[in-house]
Amino acid sequence: MISQLTERNTVKGWNCSMKDIHECLLASPTHNTIKLWGQHGTRSKAPSLKKVEAHGRLIFPAQANLRLCLLLTMVANQEIMDKDRLVTAIEQDMSDELNLKTRKYLRGDGANLETLRDKKLKGQLAVREKLYGQSAKAAAKAEKWLMPTEEGYLEPEGLEKTWMVKQESILREVDVISSRKPFDMILPELGPYNLEYASSGRYMLVGGRKGHLAMMDMMSMDLIKEFQVRETVRDVVFLHNEQFFAVAQKKYPYIYNRHGTEIHCLQEHGAPLKLQFLDKHFLLASVNKFAQLHYQDVSTGVIVANYRTGLGRTDVMRVNPYNAVIGLGHSGGKVTMWKPTSVKPLVTMLCHHGPVTAVAFHSGGQLMATAGMDRKIKLWDLRKFGVLNTYSGHAQTMDFSQKGLLAIGNGSRVQVWRDSGNQEYEKYMSHAMVKGYQIGKVSFRPYEDVLGIGHSMGISSILIPGSGEPNFDTWVANPYETTKQRREKEVHALLDKLQPETIMLEPSKIATVRPPRRKERPTKKETEEEMEAAVEAAKSITFKKKTKGRNKPSKRAAKKEEEVLKAKRPFLEQQMNNDKPLKKQRIVEAELPKALQRFSRKKAS
């Protein structure tokens, strides 16, 4: 650009000065393009720095005072340099952040293409990897710029601690909509209450021990349906959407619709203690009084599996959301994990000395929390089934939030723990109910910073900033779902219903190749080559020069031969072993009773 302009201006006799500018610009590290416009006005005008900032280059009128121009250019350059430094720092930060986010969307490392020998496959995979990278980057950018809601947080002032903050003071600070979310509902008559949120977090199901069932819309705080079954209710669970729910009653589990009409009585399950619903598989799992685990497909009505756990009666049952494996906590301190296609548990872990009282799974699938009567709360790494941390404390009920907070209900107190980095959980918030209330169930509300508490005197909810995922996905779980969307989603969910066989400890292993089991024996050729190399190495050994008859050529040759033999020996031995026929299994002749001995085969003499 500059050289062109120089040429243009040479005609006008600006040759020398232009060169100066040129040199000056070359000297500065970030030299900007200078444009000289012959057509612009005749008056010398100081170029505005705004323009510089906007375009990153200086525009002067042609007849401007050159010295002034030069000065301004240098000043502007300095400023631009500073700005550049700042901008690059910010850009660096931003790109780091984007990289971090991109990693999340890449879902693990790409294939190692270097080891591939097939060029065609390599090319195809390279294209695929590139596409993965692009889509991950796009997703990361979308996350950075397009998310409508921000995460909640709680930052205390000065020396204050987060766990000292009371609900009242939080309530004072938050907006109107949020301030309506915490409440205490005192229902003293119908016994300890159980509660369950729908997957979108909009609806809540409440079940009182003495037969009180209610469904609420938590967004408008409307009661949708309330009725009494006049029977023990042990657990309540939503099915695939808020239209249906299952209730573990005295003798059988029942399925009701949202109008409270009984749809099914699932007699095969027996008297259930706990229910869980696997929404992707449409499986309703229950564990009954006889410690039998039942899986029933609610879309077809088929009982998929019925297994005896054989470890005694238990009502500690949670489904791991990551892989849909069911964890059961037993009175012997064991935690077992089940899938519908195996009779035996996939995993049996001895977690506590004493009965297990609560189990909770982190949504990432790698973390499990267990609590036992032995006054221990343990965090487990589910990849190696080892304990990460042990804390002392009792817990009747536990729950992980979407963002990984752990709520622990004990007596009339609720504690919320937070990961302080490196999977060290520490106290984040605590809340005390009225003395004497016994907490039976804590459950985080999805996509909200709310913890629901079911206790002996009703239900409550409190605000836990930073517990929920701030941004929902309309096609995954939509709190603002319309009827049409719900119907559409139901059809799609049924089309994508997973078969029970897809439940496994590591669900990302589907459609991957199983690694070869045994290490293959080296082929004959390979061993021969190895032997030859060893022999060559042995031959090339140089011996020390010995004196007095020990350095005779014959001795040296013998020594060398010995070395070679030594090198060969292990290979030859191995070969002999390989060549040896497998040991014949000796048929142990059973000692026959005397009466039958004459029928035994005669030994070849």
């Binding site: 409508p148 941004n471 459609a511």
Partner: protein, 505 residues
């Protein structure tokens, strides 16, 4: 979403208390539930003095911002691509792939309709390059017809040939149709325009040929140059004709046997390939006085087609149930051997995209092969379709037309489960997605089984099994013979070379 750090409940009354859930919203039967909204809190709130200011924010969404304003608006959609929200991703994808494979099988209805009209077997066809929906067909009784594919009706007939019509082709501009037959004549016809086709009123008489050239031998095939005024006929020799000359301008001969097919190269207008009943495939260049190259195979080649996108390659439909793709520059071995038919392959035509070709066979089936695949991707058959003598792709590559012994032309979809007609963008995206997951999981046994399965008519199934047995037996025999002969006396030849006898220059 606006999110303020210190949002007060009510800006007008900064010290007002949060409102309890209004009792009006609770139905009467719910009144048993007492809302005891922090009575104790109220007092504390008033008494407690404001000391340290902590920062608190909780998620709060106003319904207005997440729902549409008016009924006619579109629903608002919010996305969060976080993998944590989607469990069992791979299992879901696999299930979708499986369902897509099943659906593809359910919707596979390739046969569109038959075009009835000829009174003898259909022997040859030609595309009409000017009209997407026009096709010419010639039959064994000397009848030539122009069909409208959209209505599946005859538009126009060209009577005149005494014996069978063996070759049909149209000129590059689409205005002229050239036919030849066993009555030793070449006839040039004027092709009616599209408008005439629709109104079916013609002031001109298309049933009279523009010219009739009588020559000294019966003709087996004709093909027009892709770009130029010449056309070539095949009979006992190869003749090159001009439109306006009643005698061939050039004649080629290599051997004494009848030439049965001829095709011009789409890229190089002067190059043509022929096949003859002496099992040879010969390449000619019109700029030279003699043939260029000759390849002799073990069996006769019935038809040849050049790949329109890679014009140096051609595929030969052979009598031994296979098709052989050759590179013109390297005729000593076939690039690919396409095996699947169980009887002689009678005709072959490439898709305009050059990625696939269709073959018609004496075993009463039509198959579609990928240009580089050794097995067919699709087989079409009906109970009534007899020996297929000619097949053509439509000019847009989405339909196939086959002509067979049972006097009918049949119209097929090139992709058997494709949805015809205009697709909405959402539909198209969905189909693309399903194709992608099918592609991704195609190696898994269940998906593979469903995608690969084709129902075969019993005779074909049996013939294929028989052929397999024969080939296996032959291989075994070869193996044994090799084992019992001197080492090196029977070199192993790949199948790509085995069927070639020699290459002449």
């Amino acid at each position: 979403m606006k999110s303020y750090r210190f949002v007060r409940q009510n800006p007008a009354k900064p010290n007002a208390l949060p409102l309890p859930p209004s009792p009006d919203s609770v139905s009467s039967c719910f009144s048993r539930w007492r809302f005891c909204l922090f009575e104790r809190w109220k007092e504390r709130l008033r008494s407690e003095q404001v000391h340290g200011r902590m920062k608190v924010k909780v998620i709060s969404r106003s319904t207005e911002e997440f729902t549409r304003e008016r009924g006619q608006d579109l629903q608002k959609v919010f996305r969060n691509y976080d993998p944590k929200l989607r469990n069992h991703e791979k299992a879901v994808e696999y299930t979708r792939a499986l369902n897509a494979a099943k659906l593809e099988k359910i919707f596979a209805r390739p046969f569109i309709g038959a075009m009835d009209g000829h009174i003898d077997a259909v022997s040859c066809m030609a595309k009409n390059p000017n009209h997407l929906k026009g096709i010419f067909s010639g039959s064994m009784d000397g009848d030539i017809r122009l069909w409208d594919i959209a209505t599946r009706k005859t538009v126009c007939q060209f009577p005149g040939h005494q014996g069978a019509v063996r070759g049909l082709t149209s000129s590059t501009d689409g205005e002229m149709l050239i036919s030849c037959g066993t009555d030793c004549t070449v006839r040039l016809w004027k092709v009616p325009l599209l408008k005439m086709m629709d109104s079916s009123e013609s002031d001109e008489d298309y049933s009279k040929p523009l010219a009739v050239y009588v020559w000294k031998h019966a003709f087996w095939a004709v093909d027009h140059q892709w770009d130029g005024p010449l056309f070539a006929t095949a009979g006992s020799q190869v003749d090159i004709w001009d439109h306006n000359r009643s005698e061939p301008i050039n004649t080629f001969e290599w051997g004494k046997d009848t030439v049965i097919s001829v095709r011009f190269n789409p890229g190089e207008p002067d190059v043509l390939a022929t096949s003859a009943s002496d099992r040879s495939i010969t390449l000619y260049d019109l700029r030279m006085s003699s043939p260029v190259r000759k390849l002799i195979m073990r069996t006769k080649t019935n038809a040849i087609c050049w790949n329109p996108m890679e014009p140096m390659n051609f595929t030969a439909a052979n009598e031994d149930c296979s098709c052989y793709s050759y590179d013109t520059r390297k005729l000593d071995e076939a690039k690919v051997v396409h095996k699947d038919h169980v009887s002689a392959v009678m005709d072959i035509d490439y898709s305009p995209t050059g990625r696939e070709f269709v073959t018609g066979s004496y075993d009463r089936t039509v198959r579609i092969f990928p240009y580089n695949g050794d097995h067919s991707r699709e087989i079409y058959h009906t109970k009534r379709m007899q020996r297929v003598f000619c097949v053509r792709y439509s000019c847009d590559g989405s339909y196939l037309i086959s002509g067979s012994d049972d006097t009918n032309l049949r119209l097929w979809k090139a992709k058997s489960s494709e949805q015809m007609g205009v697709l909405l963008p959402r539909e198209r995206k969905k189909l693309e997605y399903l194709d992608a997951v099918k592609e991704r999981y195609k190696h898994l046994p269940e998906v593979k089984r469903i995608v690969r399965h084709r129902h075969l008519p019993k005779p074909i199934y049996k013939a294929a099994a028989l052929r397999r047995t024969m080939i296996e037996a032959e291989n075994k025999r070869d193996l044994r013979r090799r084992a019992h002969s001197a080492p090196g006396s029977m070199p192993v030849q790949p199948f790509r070379k085995r069927r070639i006898i020699k290459e002449d220059e």
